[in-house]
Amino acid sequence: MKSVAQREPNVIPGFGITLGFTTFFLCAIVLIPLAALVLKAGGMDWSRFIDVITSARAVASYRLSFGASMVAAGVNMVFGFALAWTLVRYDFPGRKFVDAIIDMPFALPTAVSGIALTTVFAANGWIGQYLEPLGIKVAYTWIGITVALTLIGMPFVVRTVQPAIQEVQRDLEDAAETLGAGRFYVFRRIIVPTVLPALLTGFTLAFARAVGEYGSVIFIAGNMPMKTEITPLLIVIRLEEFDYAGAAALGVVMLAISFVMLLAINLLQAWGRKRMTVSR
């Protein structure tokens, strides 16, 4: 018998052609266009670039995009955990149906969720009419933006946390309770540590998706400069003014945020895997 470590020549054909095709397609559709964006912004005068990305209107849009995405991802962390826990641990009528519709925001076009949420949360909408007397305006404020971002981020948290809850060892919980630990103690010392990496990964995935979101937000946002104008919308406005360099500069900022988010997600997932293997 040959040892596994010994490299055998691979008999499967097609390496050169598939790698070539993959690389070509990747370059043509993804890498060259992204490079064009970076070069366009790089071709700007440095001081002008800084002026564009630190203008008061741009900074207000970052604050809104980041703030609303943060709140939305936080809300999803709480309700996403409750949902995932409910789906894994409890049996109730319609559980399978609920489990299936969690993925709805992945499949539902953003323009549809945008106009639908606006209708429901407007002052005369099904839910908005009950919030209006309480002085809570949802549609056309930052709260509405947060609601839209919560919807699109929800499946990310639930789908990341669900497998982690399945990993929680129930005999460990039972043992702790038999030894006199209260339910909250078990939650804090056994459940939270097991689920935490997944919860943070879900949070980051939801946040990353929310920061760049456009379609579902613009209908409910009101789109007032400095107040309810998200960064992606500002890019679109710059393009409509034929200010290509300005749009490219803001696009580069968004792209940089995407890269930081990707890095954070990879680090969190690596941490989660490490925690899993140590605990086994």
Binding site: L19, T22, A36, A107, L233, Y244, M254
Partner: protein, 290 residues
């Protein structure tokens, strides 16, 4: 150390017995279920119901007659054409990428996987912007394209390119982990026994990855038909010419033609429901996402 009271001790003992639940556990359980369902109801069920309620608010006749509008028909046609071009191309790409990544060892593989996933992290608006910068009038190829009277931006090719970018990773990221897990043994056996490469792919590999492929393709299709941000940037919103269904919804909505807007939205919602049904059926057949 303060020992647990005798009541707590008894409760803990009861709770640890298999199949036994105490009052507090039941309370927490129903509280969590109620909280989850309220959240889903307000965020997902109510808006979906509102789509159909608004679309039908003036009766079935008004609903159906909104599809008679030539611009709406043009939008539906454009969406179907875009998906018909984009989905097969990205499927071929996904299979090819998965073959080279799962079947062979080479340097830079994990970097390649990261690059394939990249479009998922990019804002839809940026996804459209990059093509405007490349092919727009002031773009790199803008002058050349104008000389040859080819329009990319504000025309069908731009819409197709932007949609391709956005849906680029869908099939590949479904197939790569699946094929990596299935391993090479069966393909190697087929090749050693004299089967050709294509024969091996169609008769050995394809039957084993078919559910993963279906999964990737339907999600790719749902996103391709529903993409708004990226397409909105490159399309120019020329009514009846470069508006896909989601863009047409925006136009109708801004004109306060709510029945029309929500009628088109109801079609896309049904597409999403069908996508979820196929997805659930695929999962029932034993396919698990990795």
């Amino acid at each position: 150390m303060a020992g647990p009271s005798s009541y707590a001790e008894a409760a803990a003992e009861l709770a640890s017995r298999p199949g036994h639940t105490n009052l507090r556990a039941t309370l927490v359980r129903w509280l969590l279920i109620a909280m989850s369902l309220t959240f889903l109801g307000a965020l997902l069920a109510a808006p979906l119901a509102a789509v159909f309620a608004t679309a039908l608010s003036k009766g079935w006749d008004a609903y159906f007659s909104s599809f008679a509008d030539p611009d709406t028909r043009a939008a539906i046609r454009l969406t179907l054409i875009t998906a018909a071009v984009v989905v097969p191309l990205n499927t071929v790409f996904g299979i090819t990428a998965a073959w080279c990544i799962a079947k062979f060892e080479f340097r830079g593989k994990s970097f390649l996987i990261t690059l394939i996933d990249l479009p998922l992290a990019v804002s839809p608006v940026v996804s459209g912007l990059i093509y405007v910068l490349l092919f727009g009038l002031n773009g790199w190829f803008g002058a050349w394209l104008q000389e040859h009277e080819i329009s990319v931006v504000y025309a069908l090719p731009g819409i197709i390119l932007a949609t391709m970018f956005v849906t680029f990773p869908y099939v590949a990221r479904e197939l790569i982990p699946l094929m990596q897990q299935l391993g090479n043994d069966e393909e190697e056996a087929a090749i050693t026994l004299g089967a050709g490469g294509w024969f091996t792919f169609f008769r050995v590999t394809l039957p084993r990855i078919r559910w993963g492929l279906v999964y990737g393709v339907i999600l790719c299709n749902a996103r391709a038909m529903g993409e708004f941000g990226a397409v909105s940037v490159v399309s120019g919103n020329i009514r009846g010419l470069t508006t896909t269904m989601p863009l047409h919804i925006e136009i109708l909505y801004n004109e306060y033609n709510f029945v029309g807007a929500f009628a088109v939205a109801s079609m896309l919602s049904m597409l999403a429901v069908v996508t979820l049904i196929i997805k659930t059926l695929v999962e029932r057949s034993g396919y698990r996402r990795r």
